[in-house]
């Protein structure tokens, strides 16, 4: 590329603007800082990283070759290998990677203040997450679209392959449980939210019937019908909430709702995909993209002030939402949005089979993740435009701040975040909810933040509608992830069981479908159940566990990438994946160690189990808590074992990667590179690039 004076000047201005925006939000103290600075900082950081770092990686480290035929071109079968225009691939890839993770993580991490989470989202993404996504996409593309597990097995050895498989399965279980918990907490004692979320099921089925039977393949017609029905369901929930007699049918505590979600998950896993999963996914993708675009435009248009301080006193680990100090827990809490191991499964799944030109990996791999990171910044803004007192009142579990409203506001105000019972009652009334105290899980506070942003943009009169729209928006794609995750978990389990008993491996054999779906649902259902009966809300246990497992999957992906770089003779560039890998190993090992060994019962699983059994033995627990205490104690011990297992898995694969690299550098035999040889492309350049 030619460098001209004007382009140097433009990039200099972007760099200066970015540096002053970051400096502004980092050093700002006292009065509130404007949300626009966050957006400016983010856009400048992504632009610079994309223009220079990503371009350098593509050209110098990976040496992408646009004359080389991609697997989509060579293996074009019109089904999964299809050469596709890069903007279309970008859309598919982004819709696949952006789920509820980047919305919930930043909301929870805002308890440390706005600064730590924001910086980690920005720099974690451009130096870690985007690099991971782009490299795995590239390596998978050069291997005909092989999955991460296959690449780990081929490039590192059997240990790497098994580790990737086991980690993927476990992360899926914990992910589904924690997302299920988020939905349950959003529906608890809210007839409006519950009825709206329940209505999404028959609506999805109707759309499924429409697309499958009535007008086969008419995706846009069916989706438009579904989106209209979903909006009507949000309004219908309001009507239902006002009908005495009807509203009681949808007014439930957590436990029955959790069982309903578990039953739904099982049904969704065994029903044909066209009936529930596929149509729900069309709806959730449209709603998701639409809402994210409207939220971003509203933030830019309204330029709201951030009320949360840059740092709170909770960086010492005493935070009410989850226990644990800034280091390492901010890096665990925000996985999606900064670096998410799960992306490596998408980047080595459908996407590499669609690329029509090698050059496109920068835009799709690196750019796709940068856009997800921007979504996480928007979630951080939505959480921090709330009054900090309100934010803590919504997100703190009753077990920490006290059961009654008066106790809760007294505790939170004593922390230096003033809030009153009247203020919370008025807010709950505006949002059409009975109460907003202790609505843990992140979804209600994100919905309040989004409703207040949308309310300022489109009129305050509709706050309650916006709130329940936001709840529906979160619930619909959480349930999509839940359906899809249960299904993938079922396939993985069938694959594993098939090694022991071949009949189990047949994915369409009904007894095997029922049994394996049942096992997967029971596994996440257990964690969901425990989360619901836990008086501290469960999210404080499950979310860190999810963060650790997702980061460990990222570490496995980076091990595969580092191993391939070293084996391809690019040792001097291996730092691009080795540095994020070292950082992930440090934070996950530290976090796991603290979750295991900390003597603070709010952080350490074993300390919590011991403290609870001590209280139980001394008879210091009220009867309702004593009844569930044995289950909670067992769960804490199980979580300790799980964390130990995760970290052992991590060190095993890091050790295996180092062994392979060492042997390669000493000239000893290692598994050969499995890259497919070069074939020249025959695709017409004019057809490709318009």
């Amino acid at each position: 590329m030619k460098t001209s004076v004007s382009s140097i000047l433009i990039w200099l201005i972007v760099a200066l603007l970015g540096a002053s925006a970051i400096g502004g939000i980092a050093l700002h103290r006292g009065e509130s800082v404007n949300a626009l600075w966050f957006v400016a900082a983010a856009l400048c950081v992504y632009a610079l990283a994309y223009r220079f770092y990503a371009a350098w990686i593509a050209a110098i480290v990976l040496t992408t070759d646009s004359t080389r035929a991609t697997p989509a071109e060579r293996l074009n079968n019109g089904r999964d290998y299809i050469p596709t225009h890069r903007w279309i691939v970008f859309g598919h890839h982004f819709a696949a990677i952006a789920g509820p993770g980047p919305l919930v993580g930043p909301t929870l991490a805002a308890q440390f203040g706005y600064l730590p989470g924001t910086l980690w989202i920005l720099f974690g993404a451009v130096l870690g997450g985007c690099v991971q996504d782009m490299l795995i996409l590239f390596f998978s593309m050069r291997r005909d679209g092989k999955s991460l597990g296959q690449m780990a097995r081929d490039e590192l050895g059997a240990i790497g392959g098994v580790a990737a498989l086991v980690a993927t399965f476990l992360i899926m279980i914990i992910l589904i449980a924690v997302l299920g918990l988020v939905v349950v907490n959003a529906m608890k004692h809210s007839p409006w939210a519950t009825s709206t979320v329940a209505a999404t099921i028959p609506i999805a089925m109707l759309v499924g019937l429409y697309m499958h039977k009535l007008r086969p393949g008419q995706v846009l017609e069916g989706s438009a019908l579904g989106v209209i029905l979903l909006l009507l369901a949000v309004a219908g929930g309001c009507w239902l909430d006002g009908q005495a007699g009807l509203r009681e049918l949808f007014d439930h505590p957590g436990l029955p709702l959790a069982f309903a979600v578990i039953g739904y998950g099982f049904a969704a896993a065994i029903l044909p995909v066209w009936l529930l999963l596929a149509p729900r996914d069309y709806l959730s993708t449209f709603i998701k993209l639409g809402t994210v675009i409207v939220l971003s435009l509203s933030i830019v248009w309204l330029r709201p002030d951030i009320r949360m301080p840059a740092l709170t006193q909770f960086i010492d680990g005493s935070g009410p939402i989850f226990g644990g100090a800034l280091f390492p827990f901010v890096f665990i809490t925000i996985a999606c949005g900064a670096i998410s191991g799960f992306h490596s499964l998408i980047a080595s799944g459908t996407t590499p089979k669609l690329l029509s030109n090698e050059r496109d990996i920068r835009m799709i791999g690196y750019g796709g993740m940068a856009l997800e990171s921007l979504v996480a910044i928007m979630a951080m803004i939505a959480a921090t435009v709330l009054d900090p007192g309100v934010y803590f009142a919504i997100n703190s579990p009753a077990g920490i701040v006290g059961k009654t409203a008066a106790e809760a506001v007294a505790t939170i105000s004593a922390w230096g975040f003033p809030v009153t019972v009247e203020q919370m009652n008025l807010l709950a009334q505006q949002m059409g909810e009975a109460t907003l105290f202790a609505r843990t899980g992140g979804a209600p506070s994100l919905a309040v933040g989004m409703a207040s942003i949308f309310g300022s943009a489109f009129g305050q009169g509709m706050l309650a509608l916006w709130y329940h729209f936001a709840i529906m928006f979160e619930a619909i794609f959480i349930l999509t992830t839940l359906d899809a995750g249960t299904r993938v978990g079922r396939f993985m389990l069938q694959d594993m069981l098939g090694n022991l008993w071949p009949a189990m491996g047949r994915t369409s054999w009904y007894p095997s479908v029922l049994l394996s779906s049942g096992i997967v649902v029971a596994a996440w259902g257990y964690f969901l159940y425990i989360g619901v009966i836990d008086p501290n809300g469960g999210v404080n246990i499950l979310w860190p566990l999810f963060g650790i497992s997702n980061q460990i999957l990222a570490a496995i992906a980076l091990c595969v990438a580092t191993g391939i770089l070293v084996k391809s003779g690019k040792l001097k560039y291996a730092w691009i994946t080795a540095l994020p890998l070292v950082w992930l190993v440090i934070i996950t090992t530290t976090a796991s160690w603290q979750k295991l060994a900390s003597s603070d019962p709010r952080i350490g699983f074993l300390a919590a189990a011991n403290s609870l059994s001590g209280k139980l033995a001394a008879g210091a627990l009220p009867p309702d808590k004593a009844a569930v205490a044995p289950q909670l104690i067992f769960n804490q011990q199980l979580d300790a074992v799980l964390v130990l297992f995760f970290v052992a898995l991590l060190w095993l694969i890091v050790g295996d990667m180092l062994r392979v690299c060492y042997r390669h550098l000493r000239g000893k035999p290692v598994p050969p590179l499995s890259e497919v040889p070069h074939y020249p492309t025959r695709l017409e350049e004019s057809w490709q690039r318009d």
Binding site: G217, L220, T481
Partner: protein
């Protein structure tokens, strides 16, 4: 001016159709005609069922 706007809107509509998979059957027919001339392509309904089944056999959605 009006013609240009018309072209832009048409292009946008094509992108939306391709992104959502709305034009999938047309693409399938075109591919089928080119790759397997002389054989009968699947009917719309059978094609859609096969395509959905295949789409959801792997990791398609993330956290």
């Amino acid at each position: 001016m009006a013609k240009r706007l018309n072209n832009v809107l048409r292009a946008l509509w094509r992108v939306i159709r391709e992104l959502s998979g709305d034009d999938g059957y047309e693409r399938y027919l075109a591919h089928h005609a080119a790759a397997h001339p002389g054989t009968r392509p699947l009917e719309r309904e059978a094609w859609f069922a096969r395509q959905q089944q295949q789409k959801w056999a792997g990791v398609k959605r993330c956290c």
